[in-house]
Subunit: 302 residues, 2 copies
């Protein structure tokens, strides 16, 4: 079923302890869309400036992504982000950020995208996420990402948004900030009480925790020995998961658990190279093969 | 099959952000033995001083633990430890420690324990672990725990020990210290190259990673919302796992994966109260019931 993502497209500079990638394609929407497209066609709504390189647009040709909603705005500049990873490759500092077009009006949603059933609202101001959500009256599953900035500065809008969501995705420190609970299980219970049917707390290299009104789920990350660049892991995770759900048309608890495993696997490929490089090299078959391998690691039967 | 544990018995004072337990029974050996005894009879070898309260000895009556090897040494004092947990209940500081009897001669291994097949060498100087190991000529599975102190001060003895082990158990920061690798998967590969057939890296609330010469395993921790005292979680984990292996008489990879799940579950009970309190209240049935619940959380099938 139709899956749409709204979010950022960026030009990233990523510095790791052993390498550096200058001015590569990034942004929540880009990782999400590429990851989801292994499972289902993806509709993308986002804005870039007129400085956005034409060859970066051609990357989407490699994936099943409808870029009708990608607005190239004259006189604006593309979002730019520079980040530096710590030795542990899990923590990072933002060295430089220029919101540029992200600070302007939201991109328009093409009319023919209004019937979208699966909606992912990547991280932005919750008031903007609410405004976008209004444009998808047929939505069957709405999931949003958020971050510390909005938890601290837009609590009321975030609270409104949460009552409209099926699912919220956020990382461990954000879950703690949102609830004031240091125990993540306790935090996840509080979040579900705030509105969404389920919450997924992402823990980076440690995996994720699902709290759904029908039950819990826990997933260790895929054990990756070779992490080149963790940027986009969270968005690839969400994209793989939502792509799988849209492809099977289900939103029950077992389907969500399996979806999170697919998200885990796609993210494990993303981090093997900078930007979308690794995702351009793999197929759905590679994903399924690694999922089988992963399922072996989790086996508890004798 | 016969399971033996050698390690410390302590009198602990535990301070958490919300509570305090003064002078309670603790020590690696105690948690290990209690946890393992849900699966198989356990033989214990350890020393205490003549200050050790009689009523603490009676705790072992609640578990299937043979205390013939528990030496009450006249003129010596029992090991004492005081620790304070941070708000996150995962990190802790040692506030005070008195090695006392642990700094003296090793306790003697009773002759009738020499035929032990499953041997767990809880954390102590690796030279002492080697000396203890010599006394179990029929050992089928030997697993040891270690810590930063020995990695930094007794590298050569630790290296000798590792070549004699089937399995090594240690936590994430220790695995990084031992190998110089910040990526835990890479660290686990290096450890297996140092001698043991497998290594289990414990990650506290995040679960554990198994690297076995035959394959990997990853386990998220049981999602516990109510953590009263994490002390002994790692030893209960090891005890539950070794107890299960000794009970089924297998040491192959699927058995080890299932054993780690049992260890995870027993540890999840341990942390629900101070000292052994919670373990005195539960039965094997409670453990199996929680394991089934846990297996649901891990399900990936549709």
């Amino acid at each position: 079923m139709s899956l749409i993502v709204t979010g950022s497209i960026g030009i990233d500079t990523v510095i790791t302890p052993t390498a550096r990638a200058e001015g590569v394609l990034g942004g929540s929407c880009v990782y999400f869309a590429a990851a989801a497209s292994f499972f289902t066609p993806v509709r993308l709504v986002a804005a870039v400036g007129d400085d956005f390189p034409q060859e970066y647009l051609r990357v989407f040709d490699r994936f099943d992504v409808d870029t009708t909603g990608l607005e190239r705005r004259a006189g604006s500049k593309t979002f730019r982000w520079t980040g530096r990873y710590h030795q542990n490759m899990n923590d990072r500092d933002t060295v430089d950020v220029a919101l540029n077009v992200l600070a302007e009006d939201l991109p328009a949603v093409p009319d023919r995208f209004r019937d979208s059933r699966y909606v992912f609202l990547a991280n932005t101001h919750p008031a903007a996420q609410l405004a976008l959500l209004e444009q998808f009256p047929d939505a069957k599953l709405v999931v949003a990402d958020t971050m510390d900035l909005w938890i601290n500065t837009a609590a009321e809008d975030l609270s409104k948004l949460m009552r409209r969501l099926d699912g919220l995705v956020l990382n461990d420190s954000e879950a703690r900030a949102l609830t004031g609970e240091s125990n993540l299980i306790a935090a996840s219970h509080k979040i579900v009480a705030m509105g969404p049917k389920f919450v997924v707390i992402k823990k980076g290299e440690h995996g994720c925790l699902l709290n759904h009104t029908e039950g819990l789920g826990v997933l260790h990350a895929f054990p990756a020995a070779n992490v080149v660049d963790p940027t986009g892991a969270g968005d690839s995770f969400a994209g793989g998961a939502m792509g799988y759900l849209a492809s099977c048309g289900r939103i029950d608890l077992p389907a969500i658990r399996r979806a999170l495993a697919y998200g885990t696997i796609v993210a494990s490929f993303t981090i093997e190279a900078f930007s979308l490089q690794r995702l351009t090299e793999i197929t759905r078959h590679d994903i399924d093969q690694r999922l089988s391998e992963y399922a072996q690691y989790l086996r508890l039967d004798e």
